[in-house]
């Protein structure tokens, strides 16, 4: 263990151990049971866009805090990331927002798990989460943080060249990981792994850039949607209040009473259908942008996966050759 501690010191000194953070696109939290959508005010098309859009808001908040290393939005959760954040949208109606967020480091240790809510100020929803994240980090010393960086790298290396690095860490029965040792600083295979990782980071950054572009394009449209939802919610509550205060429209079964009942229902349906039109409008405007973005991400992912298979094969062969030379 003392040897490991000494080796950890060899890892690049980090200013307060600025971990790199990966944010997976959020789970839109759309119930499979369609009949629940109306009651829960779930708009699937909007939710899907929010699941791509909101991680970037979190990314920006983390970057602006200056407390973290590279912060990337990634299409899929990578459990070997130094710090991985996942989220599920629990509620979003344009006014109130609730997101369940979880942060787990490369050891598999959970830093934060909770639901964060806001009324109105979407950009502030992550304030509490950021504070919790910093508090969790504050409980870890620099050595532990460097260990996380090292473990993340070794898990990545083991996935790439299992024969070479599979025994540098162990997985524990509770699902967590423990770093056992680090390769020598002059390990040529490790240098290759780091080069592969840096190439992958370049691609990840390109994907992240796509999410950034989506955010820039969606921001204004999303704000119009939220403004409309605020108006709609206000309209509905005013309607309900007006109905409560309205004087009797004649006895039950009279023309006046029936007409009022029908008109109330009619207005309610017209308002709901107008909202549907806004959702379609939102989707019409965003769908081509998202389609383009998803296509580009799929191309980049395909490139990485293809390259990854080649790198794994080549590095495995090199490891065998170098092993036979020793």
């Amino acid at each position: 263990m003392r040897q490991l501690a000494a080796l950890l010191c060899l890892l690049p000194a980090l200013a307060s151990a600025q971990l790199n953070v990966s944010i997976a696109i959020f789970d839109p939290g759309i119930p499979e049971d369609y009949s629940l959508h109306q009651d829960l005010e779930v708009f699937p098309k909007i939710r899907k866009i929010e699941s791509l859009f909101l991680p970037f808001v979190l990314r920006q908040a983390l970057v602006d805090s200056g407390e973290w290393g590279a912060v990337r939005v990634v299409p899929e959760a990578d459990s070997a990331a130094e710090l991985l954040i996942t989220g599920t949208i629990g509620h979003s109606d344009g006014e109130a927002l609730a997101i369940s967020l979880r942060a787990v480091d490369a050891r598999g240790h959970e830093w934060v798990q909770g639901t964060y809510t806001t009324d109105g100020h979407y950009d502030r929803i992550f304030d509490g989460f950021l504070a919790d994240l910093l508090a969790s980090r504050g409980q870890l010393d620099d050595r532990t943080l460097r260990g996380i960086v090292g473990l993340s790298l070794m898990r990545y290396a083991a996935a790439l060249v299992p024969d070479a690095y599979g025994e540098y860490f162990e997985s524990l029965p509770d699902g967590t990981y423990r770093l056992l040792r680090l390769p020598a600083e002059t390990d040529p295979m490790m240098a290759r792994v780091e080069r592969v990782r840096s190439v992958e980071y370049v691609m990840t950054d390109a994907i992240d850039q796509k999410f950034r572009e989506l955010h820039d394009e969606a921001d204004a449209v999303y704000e119009i949607w939220r403004e409309y939802r605020r108006w709609y919610t206000n309209f509905r509550s005013q309607e309900a209040r007006r109905n409560e205060l309205a004087t009797s429209s004649g006895e039950s079964g009279s023309y006046e009473a029936m007409r009022k009942a029908y008109d109330n229902y009619r207005m309610d349906r017209l308002a709901a259908q107008e909202q549907d039109k806004w959702i379609v409008g939102f989707n019409n405007e965003m769908a081509p942008i998202i389609d383009k973005m998803e296509q580009r991400i799929a191309e980049m992912n395909a490139f990485v996966e293809e390259g990854y298979a080649d790198w794994t094969r080549i590095l495995g062969e090199l490891f065998e050759i170098e092993g036979s030379l020793e």
Partner: protein, 232 residues
């Protein structure tokens, strides 16, 4: 013939003393594709359609027959009060109901769009009637203002609407075998009427003129129209 199963045949319209009728939105369901495609533009066929006065007369006659039968039964068994005829209150209620139905069935054109999940019947100056089914299960709407649910009964599409105060409006849509005619039967009953008002309307299919513009809804630019193909 597609398998068509109505697991819960009809929404139950149960009498409830304090709140009026309640629509059981326990979702009616079916299997497979929707049995009939109603898509298209439909214009009222005045020659075949019933007017509301006709429906009101039929309702009167039905009630008078019921009252007479009641009177005969009571006089034979000498039990219960002998009713002399329809009360003025009931007559007024029937007229009120007919007036309302006349107003809400006024649109002459129905524009029906249908996909795998929804039949949408758009009417001028009124909300579009929407019958949505996901995995064959009807998706009703239910709010403080009323409850509505649809079901398939054989090849008929039926919509039930229950409003506060006890007003119930059902609409049954049937397509003719050649697909060129549509029958709509509106059945309405209020808390003050004992028999329903039943109104038969017929529509024939017509080709709506092609639109000069292709339009698409957007949020930032509202409706965007073009003479060519539009990609939002």
């Amino acid at each position: 013939m597609r398998a068509l199963i109505i697991t819960l045949v009809l929404p139950v319209l149960a009498a409830c003393a304090s709140k009026g009728p309640v629509l059981d939105t326990t979702n009616p369901s079916f299997e497979g594709d929707m049995p009939v495609n109603f898509s298209g533009s439909w214009e009222r066929d005045y020659a075949r359609s019933q007017d509301v006065n006709g429906a009101l007369n039929a309702m009167f006659q039905q009630r008078q027959r019921e009252v007479m039968q009641q009177q005969q039964a009571n006089s034979m068994s000498r039990v219960g009060p002998v009713q002399s005829g329809l009360s003025q209150r009931e007559v007024n209620a029937m007229i009120d109901l007919a007036r309302l139905i006349e107003e809400i069935t006024r649109p002459e054109v129905l524009t029906i769009s249908q996909d795998a999940y929804e039949v949408r019947i758009a009417r001028k100056d009124d909300f579009a009637m929407s019958c949505a089914f996901y995995d064959g299960v009807a998706q009703g709407t239910d709010s403080q203002y009323g409850a509505e649910v649809c079901s398939w009964e054989g090849d008929d599409l039926v919509s039930h609407l229950v409003l506060p105060g006890g007003l119930i409006i059902s609409r049954r849509y049937t397509l003719s075998p050649d697909g060129n005619q549509l029958r709509e039967i509106t059945t309405a009953k209020s808390s003050a009427t004992r028999s329903p008002l039943v109104l038969h309307r017929y529509y024939f299919k017509f080709e709506a003129p092609a639109r000069a513009f292709n339009c698409v809804e957007t949020l930032s630019m509202k409706r965007v129209c073009s003479t060519g193909e539009l990609n939002p």
